[in-house]
Chain length 211, copies 2
Amino acid sequence: MLKIENIRPADIESRSFEIITQELGPRQLDPRQAPIIKRCIHTSADFDYADNLYFSDGAVERMLAALRAGAHIVTDTQMARAGINKTVLARFGGQVHCFMSDSDVAAEARQRQVTRAVVSMERAAALSGPLLFAIGNAPTALLHLVELAGQGCVGPAGIIGVPVGFVNVIESKERLIESGLCCIAARGRKGGSNIAACICNALLYMADGRQ
Amino acid sequence: MLKIENIRPADIESRSFEIITQELGPRQLDPRQAPIIKRCIHTSADFDYADNLYFSDGAVERMLAALRAGAHIVTDTQMARAGINKTVLARFGGQVHCFMSDSDVAAEARQRQVTRAVVSMERAAALSGPLLFAIGNAPTALLHLVELAGQGCVGPAGIIGVPVGFVNVIESKERLIESGLCCIAARGRKGGSNIAACICNALLYMADGRQ
């Protein structure tokens, strides 16, 4: 029978990060990006995130500044919303918004034959103050967001673009990267609501001075 | 610039499953297990789930019967709770419970020097009616649950054991498998709240006759 390591609850996360650092080996990560990359690996046990994350120039610094200035976070799933550390976010004055489950969003999406994600991005664009978008599920949300930003309908402080899947997922993330918007993206098919939430949390912990 | 596939919102999921089926190739999946395996790949874009999922004898049939009989689902994270299709679950009479954020759970965990997950499993064990546990995060929750079941303190209708990570994660899932309890587990380090939720949803859609 495999032996269970006897470890204090408070030490499990730091021990996990030690193992990740060790297994990453001699590879040099940008010190601003390292906490984000390692938290994605921590969340998924998938070392692909050591290679697939793209950061636009100064993305981490700009997103940290936005969070410290009280930016709100917009997600495209209730799962991502549930996973974000709202206590730390509130300390800076921010809240998390997700419009996906609003009944009028579903009704409008049906009527317009678009996804609920498209409609929920339009609702989010109408929010005031600095906004950080965390898109972990719907490529349609990310594509529409990049389009809205290109039209000047929204000026996001940053976009975490990590939809997962097989249809228009890679394309949506490449559009985001080509747009020149401040972003962190997971190239390829991988990503998810868990990854969107954990990138937000990595940024929040950095903004909070923990890492 | 990469071309965006023009596809109706309602068709995105079925097209994704077609691609997954195609890329899995000639491999023969058990027809009862296939919808679960494919939904894990759909949720993560990670084909490792074609190989790492373990099903105890008759697990799918037993969990479907439990859901149809109105089983409640217990999760170890708010993220997993958020990701489960509560509309379909409610149709059979079930609800999702997660005790992790209860303030008295945190207080008791601190006092006993155990994880909140351990305390929240004890709270769940006191629920009445058939229970399906979906553990996507905390190996301590899974280990304690297997222990409680061994002591006869809880008789779960099924356990979805898919914690993710680096400390006691593999061990917790092997203990589950060795226990002989009705379970679905992701062997190795991978898993997560997203995987826990999507296995519940795959079962719910099967119970609902969609697949």
